[in-house]
Each structure stands twice: as structure tokens, then as C-alpha cells.
Point group: C2
Chain length 244, copies 2
DNA sequence: ATAGTATGATTGTCGGACAATATGGCCATC
DNA sequence: GATGGCCATATTGTCCGACAATCATACTAT
């Protein structure tokens, strides 16, 4: 073992302050929904200048550990939701030049087990959400924009019904990244819309019956079908995903 | 449609500045590795005070879009790596009281297809990394700490070999979260160590042969085996994941 | 070529200041 | 009692100026 010296760990004040506050949030000393003390009070408590506190708060804000309620002044502790996490991941994917194909492959991996789990863990409420998503898709099918949103909501409803709270968090960035490609597909291939509707209905029915295998298989087919649609529309899957 | 008014979108200066810079990074005007202008220069360019620039920089730093090279002063543009993303996600999972079981279920979903993809997309370099990981695990098997690290590196090598750059990013937080539980398992059930070694070797061999189905099946068995280990050791899977 | 030194640039931290706005209490009106 | 107007105060957003510590660089001496 080479005994190369590690660089001395030193963090500037704003980082240490942010770390302290973050630790209090993570260990639940500061509960979600509570509001933080004012900047001035924090400054006196930590014995530092207000500027430093403000820099620390910006870090925490960007980490989605604190946020401002709309139109209010004080910062409150929040827990990062799927949408926020997704935004961060989307940025990372974009900077890594991840391609549409790679994102799609992940969905091919995630969605069938998600549907299966949803069939097993379904409740009246989650099932209704799925049914509503399916109905909403049918209703908005005509308009490309609404159709794309409907597809997203369908997948979200499935993930939400799976009973696994990690799944929605991991799925969300993928969905966000695909909306652009999906929009092109749905715009260019009208027959796809009907196929999507049918597949959604089958999956929904299978989940309603608690038939996990069937739901999984239909979902696998559904996702594969999307990919064929991409190829049919000559959507180049190897292009980097957009960062919009 | 109810026509409830949206709140007027207004962002304080530091947020707008951060947004501007982030946009420049995402559209590659500022390339990865480049260093940002000094705070003073940014302040004059944006026509605002240095304090505001600093707050914006803290946001970007926390978003892992910029970072300081170790021991240096200037901030450079970086692209968030798996480890950074993982930390953020770990925080989120912890705050959502995600359980070990949920994390483990996600690995059960992700890993078998990952192994299959690795068998299909393997290269000399990626295969070597897997082989080295397997060898390192065997070598360090005795010591619980090194064994846990070895398991993590094995999974990372697989994901890296899959040719899908999304996979490592999604897998990393799961691995980080499981190290605690894995440590307990490996400490408590010595025979598990040998089983892990054997499974790793089988999977590695299957990937080396380009046999995707075999790799997938062995990986599925491997992951399931972990879960049995958890149950055998009476590790309560429904406890929230730690936030270490 | 390497080590030391001087110089300038940049960051980390501080203090104070002020305008704009949210908060909360008080009062009048219905 | 609920509602809306009004005011004092607290808090945030933004600015300015300052200074020590540290990094980058050029220059010098060995």
C-alpha cells in the first residue's frame, strides 16, 4: 500500500454551515414543513455573517432540501419530490450525452416489472388512477400534446401503484427525457395513438384482475411497440437526449 | 377549464444568474473542464454585485455543474458523476423513508438485464474490469469491509459493461444505500461470502462467453440469494434506509 | 532545472446599508 | 364574527466597501 497523503479536508464556512443544516434536516431535527429561522438569527446562532448564511441557504435550496412556499418569504424544509430529482438527473444525462436509445432501454427494463408489481400491490385508489389515466388518454388522443402527457401520466400511475417508492423517482427523469421523442412519434404516426390506447386498456385490465404476468407481458409488448414506432418513423435513437 | 391565475413568475437575481450560467453549461457554450471567469468579472458582466454572483455559484456548485479542482481556487465546469448524483438521490430516498426492501426490489429489476446487456456489449476492457472485480472480491473476502466494497465494485463493473450510461447512474444510489445492510449480512453469515464469490465467477464467465441468457439467470439467482441471506439473518427489510 | 521570493489576482469572510415586501396586529365596517 | 383596510415591524434582496488568506505567476538566485 502506498502511503500517499490525502489532502487535508477543509471546507469553507458556507459549506460547513450548509452541512450542519442539512444534517439537522436529514436526522429530522428539522421536520418537513417547518420553517427555518431567519437569516439573521441563523447568522448569530452560527456566529457568522449573514452573507455566509445566505450562500449556505442557496446550496440547500439547490439541493431541494429547503424551498420557499410560493409568494412567501420564509424558507421551509421540504422533501425533494420526483419532479425535482428528475430535473437534476435530466441535466446529468444531457451532460453525459446519453442517447434516446439508452433512456428507452431503461424503460424497457423498468416498466414490465412495474406493471407486474402494480398488479400485485394495487389498491382501489391506485387502480382508479390508472383507469383515469387510460380514460384521459383516450379522450385527449387527438391532440398530440395531450396524448404525450397522457402517456406520461399512465406510466406514472403504474409506477405509483407498484408500491415501490423508488420506482417513481427513477422513472420520472426517463419520462421527462422522452417526451420530445414521443411527441414526434405521436405526431408522425397517427395509428400509433390507437395502438397505445388499446395497450393501455389491456394492461389496465390485467392489473385490475391482479394478473401480474399478463400485465407484465402486455407492458413489455407495449414498450417494444413504442420502439418499433420510433424505428418506423425513422427517429434516430442514437441522438443525445435534449436538455430542454 | 377553470381559469385560476398563475402566480407571476418572478425569480430573485441570484436564481436568474444561476439559470443563465447553467444554460450556458448545458448548451456547451461553457465546456466541461473550462474554468469560469472570476467572481468580479462575472459581477461586472451581469451588472450585479459580487454577493449575488456568489450565491448563484453556490447554487451551481450544489447542482454539481461546477466544482473546484482540489486545492485550487478557480471554479471549473464539471459534469456530475454517478457518485454525486447518487448522493442527491440517497438524500431524497432517506427523506422519503424508502425501505431496504424497496431498494432491493429495484436491484432485482435492474441487475439481471444489466448482466444480459453486459454479455452482449462486452469489450476487452470492460470484461477485464469485471474479472478484476471478481478476483478482488475473492482476495478481500475475509474482511467484511473489503467484501462489501467488492460487491459494489462487481455491480458497478457489470453496469459499466452494459453499454448503457444511464444504468450506472441509476444503480449507484441503490448500491450506496445497501452497503449498510450488506455489511450486516456479510458479517453475520460467513457462508454467504463463498456463495457470492461463486455466483460472481459464474456470471463473469457467462458474460465472457457472451451468453446473455445465462448471465441474466445467474444474476437473478445471485440477487435473489442476497435477499434470502437478508431473511436468514433476520435483517428487517422494512426499515427505512439509512442516510449515512 | 530547482528552490526561493515578490507581486498581483481571487476568494472567503466580514460589516453595514437601504429598498421592497411579507407578517401580524389593530381597527373600522358590514 | 367575518371581512377588509392600514400600519409597524421583521425579513429578504441587493448593494457597497473592506481586508486577510491563499493561489498564480513572473522573476531571481543557487
Amino acid at each position: 500500500m502506498s502511503a500517499a497523503f490525502e489532502p487535508l479536508p477543509f471546507a469553507p464556512g458556507y459549506r460547513r454551515v450548509a452541512g450542519e443544516i442539512a444534517a439537522r434536516i436529514l436526522d429530522r431535527t428539522l421536520k418537513v414543513g417547518e420553517s427555518l429561522p431567519s437569516e439573521l438569527e441563523l447568522a448569530t446562532q452560527f456566529g457568522v455573517n449573514r452573507s455566509m448564511i445566505r450562500e449556505a441557504l442557496r446550496e440547500l435550496e439547490s439541493a431541494d432540501l429547503i424551498a420557499r412556499r410560493r409568494g412567501t418569504k420564509r424558507l421551509v424544509v421540504v422533501r425533494p419530490a420526483a419532479a425535482q430529482i428528475a430535473g437534476r438527473l435530466r441535466q446529468a444525462f444531457a451532460l453525459h450525452d446519453v442517447t434516446v436509445r439508452e433512456v428507452w432501454e431503461m424503460l424497457e427494463v423498468l416498466e414490465p416489472p412495474a406493471a407486474q408489481a402494480a398488479a400485485a400491490a394495487r389498491t382501489a385508489a391506485t387502480l382508479r388512477r390508472i383507469e383515469e389515466a387510460v380514460a384521459a388518454y383516450r379522450a385527449g388522443q387527438r391532440e398530440a400534446r395531450r396524448a404525450v402527457d397522457g402517456v406520461g401520466e399512465f406510466f406514472r400511475a403504474i409506477a405509483g401503484a407498484s408500491g415501490n417508492r423508488v420506482l417513481p423517482l427513477m422513472q420520472e427523469p426517463l419520462l421527462q427525457l422522452l417526451t420530445a421523442a414521443l411527441g414526434v412519434l405521436i405526431e408522425a404516426a397517427p395509428p400509433a395513438r390507437e395502438r397505445i390506447a388499446v395497450a393501455q386498456e389491456r394492461i389496465c385490465a390485467a392489473i385490475g384482475d391482479g394478473n401480474g404476468e399478463l400485465a407484465r407481458d402486455w407492458m413489455a409488448k407495449h414498450v417494444r411497440d413504442f420502439r418499433r414506432g420510433f424505428e418506423f418513423c425513422r427517429i434516430e435513437l442514437n441522438t443525445p437526449v435534449p436538455f430542454g
